[in-house]
């Protein structure tokens, strides 16, 4: 009888620990690190030598989604996936690409232009809030092309969009990751195919 009482107490304690732990998990902030693979674009490279500069804001970019009560809900880290994406796309777009760690890097002297992307805005739409059956991600970028003297050659805004359907066994984290990867691929597709059509870029390419 004593043994049964102890078992019951242990079970009750275990149950309480799980309930309390569950409450902490549901109240805590979940972290999503965007991970995906980005294929090399099948495009003809432009005969240019380009340096790419990823500033710290891009490298460490993260977005915090808040609940309706203002509580921190989901932290989305997408800086490294953006770097990974540009590292896959740029070498296919230009004949020579180097990465520089600052705008004062001496290697900049030998290139035709420096490309510096920046994320201006990140938006997330969750099915629980929109009542739609999709996870959606919008990202707005400021793309800058600078010459070796530091003068602006082109400065334009791009937006990308990605969505992924809600499925029975798909976690919120996987849904966000799926939508973000689609948005990143959307950026790559639009950037790679439309780069030479940006009016300022087209004028600059025409002047070379």
């Amino acid at each position: 009888m004593k043994l049964r009482e102890i078992d019951g107490l242990t079970f009750f304690k275990g149950l309480m620990i799980h309930i309390v732990a569950g409450l902490f998990v549901s109240c805590g902030t979940s972290n999503v690190v965007i991970q995906g693979s980005f294929p090399t674009p099948a495009i003809n490279p432009i005969p240019l030598s380009v340096a790419v500069y990823y500033d710290d804001n891009l490298r460490n970019f993260s977005y915090m989604e808040y609940s309706e009560t203002g509580r921190e809900e989901i932290n989305i880290e997408s800086g490294s996936s953006h770097v990974q994406l540009f590292d896959a796309v740029l070498p296919a777009m230009f004949e020579r690409v180097i990465t520089v760690n600052s705008m004062e890097d001496p290697e900049i002297e030998g290139v035709d232009a420096v490309f510096a992307p920046a994320i201006e805005e990140f938006q997330l739409a969750l099915p629980a809030k929109t009542k739609l059956e999709v996870y959606e991600v919008w990202i707005q970028y400021n793309m800058r092309l600078i010459d070796s003297e530091g003068d602006s050659l082109a400065d334009w805004v791009m937006t990308s969009y990605g969505k992924t359907p809600r499925e029975t066994f798909l976690s919120v984290e996987d849904g966000i990751n799926g939508a973000a990867v689609v948005a990143l691929r959307d950026l790559a597709s639009s950037f790679a195919l439309n780069f030479a059509r940006i009016p300022e870029v087209r004028d600059w390419l025409g002047s070379l």
Binding site: P39, P41, A42, I43, N44, E133, P165, V182, D186, S189
Partner: protein, 223 residues
């Protein structure tokens, strides 16, 4: 006087009889519209792609994969290039933002030597675009409970599925639209529960996939 165990067995037998009586079923309708002659050589392939431009829904990649797998099986099977492999190899040309919407758009794509070369490497003769979705409507009531003495479910859950997919076939040799096939399927799935839930799925999407794959195979083979 029946024991509790006998009563439980009697309820389960009644549930089974009721379940058989409900017997889920699905109805599939196929419509074909041919606009040109077709035929495929043994060394040629096709690719099946899902439309994903719309904001309200996107064609399920599992359905696209199902149709491709079925086309690669049985008599007169056709070699199908997997959707993801094709889209990644052709990146970024077939991303939702850039994908061709009409067969005539293919001319613009094929001007790019890199695109034409990759199409040639895959030996693609036909490009099939699938667009559609399955709408689901749930009704009924089923509840489950667990207690110290055991657990069980009671009630009846009903799910009506309405599947509608359009397949548009483009010939990469003539760069023309050669036809459309529509597959529509409806069916009702039941899940009666007297202690144990007994799922009776209607397999609506699977039926639509099988019928569409058979029709597409015949269409591409020109039979």
């Amino acid at each position: 006087m029946k024991t509790v165990e006998e009563k439980s067995k009697a309820i389960q037998k009644a549930a089974l009889v009721f379940a058989i009586g409900l017997s889920s079923c699905a109805t599939t309708t196929i419509d074909e519209f041919r606009q040109g002659q077709t035929g495929i050589e043994a060394d040629e392939t096709i690719v099946i792609l899902g439309r994903r431009e719309g904001s309200s829904f996107e064609t399920d990649s599992d359905f696209v994969e199902c149709v491709g797998e079925r086309m690669g099986q049985g008599d007169n099977s056709i070699s199908v290039v997997p959707e993801r492999e094709f889209i990644d190899a052709m990146f970024p040309w077939f991303e939702p933002r850039n994908a061709p919407l009409r067969a005539s758009d293919l001319e613009r794509f094929m001007i790019e030597d890199i695109v034409a070369r990759k199409m040639d490497e895959f030996r693609i003769r036909y490009m099939v675009w699938l667009e559609g979705e399955t709408e689901t409507d749930r009704s009924g009531s089923l509840s489950c409970a667990v207690g110290p003495g055991g657990g069980g479910c009671f009630g009846l859950a009903i799910q009506e599925d309405d599947t509608n997919f359009d397949a548009t076939i483009w010939d990469l040799e003539s760069l023309r639209n050669v036809g459309q096939i529509n597959a529509a399927a409806t069916g009702t799935s039941y899940m009666p529960a007297f202690v144990i839930p007994v799922p009776l799925p209607a397999r609506v999407e699977a039926n639509a996939c099988n019928r569409l794959a058979v029709q597409l195979k015949d269409f591409v083979n020109g039979s």
